[in-house]
């Protein structure tokens, strides 16, 4: 498939904001000032894009998109020219083995691997499984240790299905990584994926008779910072947590937020104490509290949170931001971006102090990922 519209591609230092929606993908780009944006799309019109990523390792400029046709299934498509042209596998590349009895429903997450393994890419899918590519996203194989996990028969689907939506890597240790599944919780491997153990100690499961089970939590998002990978921040289905020991234990950090329910969570690119979230009213009423669209930020690792609302609608703004709808670029000051279920895309060029609307009527936004072109 080929899609084109731009006459010239982004240059080094430019910012890409990749947006996946229920009706296709859009690529926003700007120079470092981040004042004026070009938009290109929709790519894959009519297909739902729940996962999108940019991979600059190995000198490439690769965009990876998990596109889902309601009729014909899900495919990961690749572009090395910022969306001017796309390649996709003839055969469906993300495939469960016949022996598993499982069939791919959706690609929920695409995450480039370590810097020194530039061809390794991970993807998380529904039904919950982790796949690995060793050729930069062209072909994929399931991670057997998780596919055959003894807990699998007891994992239960959440509202979005039984999905593996979060992949957390450790820049200091290639064999250590973690994933989150709704609803199974947070699992970590220390042996490159051969074995996985749940690490949910202290994380609530409000919807179960046992509120603190070994596994079964509905973890919505987990993030860490490459300079301090053992410190994790977790947005739960009710609950906001931090771990300082790679998930061995979790502490409640919902200090001063209007709600500890939410989906989206994003690290600051340069500060391991700074995290962004978008609190949501409740499980039953999934919109921002009081009709005020506010991003909350901690700059002290969760000891306190402050609202960031300058330039955001504060009246009758009944918006929701999904788990991959909040992202950051790597400039300084950092650019922060988020997209809403209502199809609005906002950006900040000053780390969240002020916001501008980049788009106001996209299809419902599923995911947003930012990157700086090398």
């Amino acid at each position: 498939m080929t899609t084109s519209s731009r006459s010239s591609g982004p240059a080094a230092g430019d910012v890409l904001v990749l947006v996946g929606t229920t009706k296709g993908a859009f690529i926003f780009s700007s120079d470092k000032s981040r004042r004026k944006w070009n938009v290109d799309g929709p790519h894959f019109p009519g297909e739902a894009v729940y996962s999108i990523a940019y991979d600059s390792r190995g000198g490439r400029t690769r965009t990876l998109v998990g596109a889902h046709s309601n009729h014909w299934g899900s495919t990961i498509r690749l572009s090395d020219d910022f969306g001017r042209s796309w390649t996709g596998p003839e055969r469906q590349a993300v495939r469960f083995p016949e022996s598993s009895g499982l069939s791919l429903a959706q690609v929920w997450q695409i995450t480039p691997g370590h810097a020194d393994e530039p061809d390794v890419v991970w993807c998380g899918v529904e039904p919950a499984a982790l796949f690995e590519s060793r050729d930069a996203g062209a072909s994929w194989a399931p991670v057997e240790g998780l596919l055959n996990h003894e807990h699998r028969p007891k994992w239960m689907p959440g509202g979005g299905g039984l999905c593996l939506h979060t992949i957390v890597t450790d820049p200091k240790d290639k064999k250590r990584m973690a994933i989150a599944i709704s609803t199974a919780g947070f699992y970590r491997t220390d042996d490159g994926g051969k074995s996985w153990r749940p690490r949910n100690n202290g994380v609530r499961a409000v919807f179960l008779p046992n509120k603190y089970p070994e596994f079964g939590q509905c973890v919505h998002k987990v993030v860490n910072h490459p300079s301090r990978p053992e410190r994790l921040f977790l947005q739960n289905h009710w609950g906001l947590y931090r771990s300082d020991d790679w998930g061995e234990s979790w502490q409640d950090i919902a200090n001063g937020v209007p709600s500890d329910f939410g989906f989206a969570m994003q690290m600051h690119p340069h500060d391991p104490d700074t995290v962004y979230i978008v609190p949501i009213q409740s499980d039953e009423f999934r919109v921002v509290p009081e009709g005020k669209l506010r991003v909350y930020r901690t700059r002290d690792a969760g000891n306190s949170w402050e609202p960031l609302a300058a330039g955001l609608p504060q009246d009758q703004a009944f918006e929701n931001v999904l788990r991959d709808g909040l992202t950051a670029d790597s400039h300084d000051p950092a650019g922060i971006y988020f997209g809403t279920r209502g199809g609005k895309l906002f950006g900040s060029a000053d780390a969240g102090e002020s916001w501008q609307e980049l788009a106001d009527a996209l299809p419902p936004i599923c995911c947003v990922k930012a990157a700086v072109v090398a």
Binding site: M1, T22, S69, N70, H71, W72, G73, E90, R91, Q92, R95, F96, P97, E98, G101, L102, S103, L104
Partner: protein, 93 residues
Amino acid sequence: MAISVIVPNALTPYSRGVGTLVVTEPVATVGDALAAVAARLPALTDRVLTEQGEIRRHVNVFVGEESVKFLDGLSTPVTDGTTITIVPAVSGG
């Protein structure tokens, strides 16, 4: 033996642009006919069947004018001259 398999426009990129395929191998069921298609055009049948070999949820397969959902699924028998039609189901949002 000749079984016709009508391909929807959306899938002709995976059938080398051909809208109606003809299966001449001896086949007894819809599943056999799609397997014969898969041997030639696996990228096409990937879009119609899951990796478990089941018809995708939002795809309909007809034998004549009847959906195989109301017949015997992929085991629905076919005979010389049968037309199989692959259709995207009415779905979306």
